[in-house]
Amino acid sequence: MQGAMRSEPNAALDGPAPATTTTLATAREPLGTHLRRTWWIYLILVAVGAMLSLPLLWLLSSSLKSEGQIFVVPPQWIPNPVQWANYPDVFHRIPFGRGWLNSIVVTSLATLGQVISASLVAFGFARLRFPGRDALFMVLIATVMIPYHVTLIPSYVLFRWLGWLDTFLPLIVPSWLGGSAFLIFLVRQFYMRLSFELDDAARVDGASIWQVFTHIVLPQSKPAIGVVAIFAFLNHWNDFFGPFIYLNSTDKYTLPLMLRLFQSVESTEWAMLMAASVMTAIPCIVLYFVAQRYFIQGVVFTGLKG
C-alpha cells in the first residue's frame, strides 16, 4: 500500500504552480514575437474577462451612488458625485456591526472545529490500521453526495428539541463533529502521500500514536491544514441556508442575512445594499489574494489532477 504512494509530495505540489511555469516558458522570447503568436488569445481573454468583470464594476459603481443617481436612465458608470457616505451609512441603517461580529464568531469557531476534526479523523483513516476502516471510508465518500435537503427537516427538529434554535450552535457544532466529508477526504489524501518511514522509526523508538500525530504528521501537513481552513472559512462566511433556517432574531443575523434587510416588499435600497454587499465580499477577496496558491493546491490534493 505505501509503496505505491508518491514518494515526493512536494514535487507533486509544486508542479502546477502556474506563475513560474508560464514565465519560464516565455521568458526567452522577445515581446514582439510573443504578441504576434498569441494576440488572438489576448483578444479572447479581454473579451471574456470584461464580460465577467462588468457586473463587479457595476456593483462598485452602484455602491457609490446616491439613491437619486441609482435611478438614472440610461445607467451611468461613473457616480457623480461619489457618495462615499453610503459605506458608513450602512452601519446606521441596519445593525451591520453586529452582523460582522456574529459572522466572525460563527465563522472562526466553525473553521477551528473543522480544522481540528478533519485533521484528527483523516489521521485515523490514512495512517492507522483497524478493522472496518475501509468500509467506513466508503461511507464517508458516499456522504459527500447526500443532498443537504434530505437531512434538513430532522436536523431542524433535533436542534429545536435541544433548544438550539436562534443560537449559533447549529452552525458551529457539526463542524466539530467531522463537518464537511469532502474536507476530511482532502486531508486524508494529503496524509496518504507522506512517507511512513518517520512514523515507523518513531514508533520503534517508543513514541505513542498521539506523538506521531502531533510531532511527525501534523508539522508536515501545514499546506493541507491551510486549504481546509480557507475552504471552511469561505463556506461558513458565505453560508446563507444555515443561518436562514436557524436564526430568527435580527441581532443574531450573520452578514448574508443582514443584506436582506435592505429588501422590502415596497422597495429596495439599492445603493446601500450594494455597499453592504461589497463589504461582505471583502474578507473573501482579501483571503484569496493572501492565500492564492492554496486555492489551486486544494484541488491538487484531492488527487483529481488526472
Binding site: 505505491a4 502546477p16 502556474p18 511555469t21 508560464t22 516565455t26 515581446l31 510573443h34 488569445i41 479572447i44 481573454l45 471574456v48 474577462g49 465577467l52 457586473p55 463587479l56 457595476w58 456593483l59 452602484s62 438614472v72 436612465v73 440610461p74 445607467p75 479523523v121 485515523g124 492507522l128 490500521r129 483497524f130 478493522p131 467506513l136 464517508l140 443532498p147 435537503h149 437531512t151 434538513l152 427537516i153 430532522p154 436536523s155 427538529v157 433535533l158 429545536r160 463533529l177 467531522g178 463537518g179 466529508a181 500514536i209 498521539w210 500525530f213 458565505n238 452578514l255 429588501q263 429596495t268 450594494m274 454587499s277 477577496i285 484569496y288 486555492f295 484541488v299 483529481l304 489532477k305
Partner: protein, 296 residues
C-alpha cells in the same frame, strides 16, 4: 493490550468525532426523514402515521410537478452549458502567455462574492427599468424583457447568473490540464498532429475523469438550488422559478407540513440518486482511467 488492539482502539478514537457526527447529523436524520415522510407532522404535536398518503398526494400535486419540471430544465441546460464553458475557459487559462496569472484572478473573482451578495447584484442588473442589462440592450436598440418578472425569462435569467461563476470549476479543470504528461502531446506532434488533434486525442480523453467529477457535482448542486429563487423571485412569476427545494422549504417552514415536506425531500433524493447511478453506469463508456492501480 497488544500492539494491534491498541492501534484499533486509537483508530476508532481518531475517527470518533466523525462517527458521532455521522450518526447524529446524517444517518439518524436520513432515517427520521423517511419516517416523517410517512406521517402527518406539524412540529407542535408528535407525528401521526399516515402511511403512503403524502406520496399519493405528491402524485396529484401540480405545483410539485411544476417544480420538478423547473428544476430539471434548469439542470439540463445550466449543467452542460457550464461544463463546456468552464472547460473552454480552462483551456484558455492553460495557454502560455504573459500575465496569465492576472486573468486567472479576473475569471475566478466572481466566485469570491458571497452567494447572497451576488444574487442581490444580479437582481439589480436584471432590473427592467434601471438595470445594467436592459440599459446596455437599449443602447443597441433592443428593448429588453422584464427578466425576473417575466414568466418566459425568469428561469433563463437564473441560468445566465449561474454562468457568471464558471471560474470555479475552471480551477478544477486547470489542475487536471496541468497534470497531463507532456510526452503524450509530443507523441501527437511526432505523428504530425496539430492543436485540434492534440485536443481530441489527448486533452479530452485525459480530462474525462475531471469532466465526470464536475458533472456529478454540478448535478447535485443544480438540483439543490434554493437561495437564488428565494431572494430573487420567491418562485414566481406563476411558479416559473419554483425549484423543488424552495417548494420543500415553503411546505416545511411556512406551512409547517413537515411530513409532506419530507416526502418531497425523498422524491428529489430518489431522482438525484437514480441519475447519479445511471451516470456512473454509463461512465465506463466514456470516462478514461489510466490502467494503473497507483491510487489504491
Amino acid at each position: 493490550m497488544n500492539h494491534r488492539r491498541w492501534e484499533t482502539l486509537a483508530g476508532y478514537l481518531f475517527i470518533a468525532p466523525w462517527l458521532v457526527g455521522l450518526v447524529v447529523f446524517t444517518l439518524g436524520p436520513i432515517a427520521a426523514s423517511f419516517y416523517f415522510s410517512l406521517t402527518s407532522y406539524q412540529l407542535v404535536k408528535p407525528p401521526v402515521w399516515v402511511g403512503l398518503a403524502n406520496y399519493q398526494r405528491l402524485l396529484h400535486d401540480d405545483i410539485f410537478w411544476k417544480s420538478m419540471r423547473v428544476t430539471t430544465t434548469y439542470v439540463a441546460i445550466s449543467v452542460p452549458l457550464g461544463l463546456v464553458l468552464s472547460f473552454c475557459v480552462a483551456l484558455l487559462m492553460n495557454q502560455k502567455v504573459k500575465g496569465i496569472g492576472f486573468w486567472r484572478t479576473v475569471f475566478y473573482l466572481p466566485n469570491l462574492v458571497p452567494l447572497v451578495a451576488s444574487t442581490m447584484l444580479w437582481l439589480w442588473i436584471f432590473n427592467p427599468q434601471f438595470g445594467l442589462l436592459n440599459g446596455a440592450l437599449a443602447r443597441i436598440g433592443i428593448e429588453g424583457p422584464n427578466w425576473l418578472q417575466s414568466q418566459q425569462w425568469a428561469l433563463p435569467s437564473l441560468i445566465i447568473m449561474n454562468l457568471w461563476t464558471v471560474g470555479g470549476s475552471t480551477l478544477i479543470y486547470l489542475a487536471g490540464l496541468q497534470g497531463i504528461p507532456t510526452d503524450l502531446y509530443q507523441a501527437v506532434e511526432v505523428d504530425g498532429g496539430g492543436a485540434w488533434a492534440k485536443l481530441r486525442t489527448v486533452t479530452i480523453p485525459q480530462m474525462t475523469p475531471v469532466i465526470f467529477y464536475n458533472l456529478i457535482l454540478g448535478l447535485i448542486a443544480g438540483f439543490q438550488v434554493f437561495a437564488q429563487p428565494l431572494i430573487m423571485t420567491r418562485g414566481g412569476p406563476r411558479y416559473a422559478t419554483m425549484f423543488v427545494v424552495l417548494y420543500l422549504y415553503q411546505n416545511a417552514f411556512s406551512n409547517f407540513k413537515m411530513g409532506y415536506a419530507s416526502a418531497i425531500a425523498w422524491a428529489l433524493f430518489v431522482v438525484i440518486l437514480a441519475l447519479t447511478i445511471v451516470l456512473f453506469r454509463l461512465s465506463n463508456r466514456w470516462v478514461y482511467y489510466e490502467g494503473d492501480t497507483s491510487r489504491r
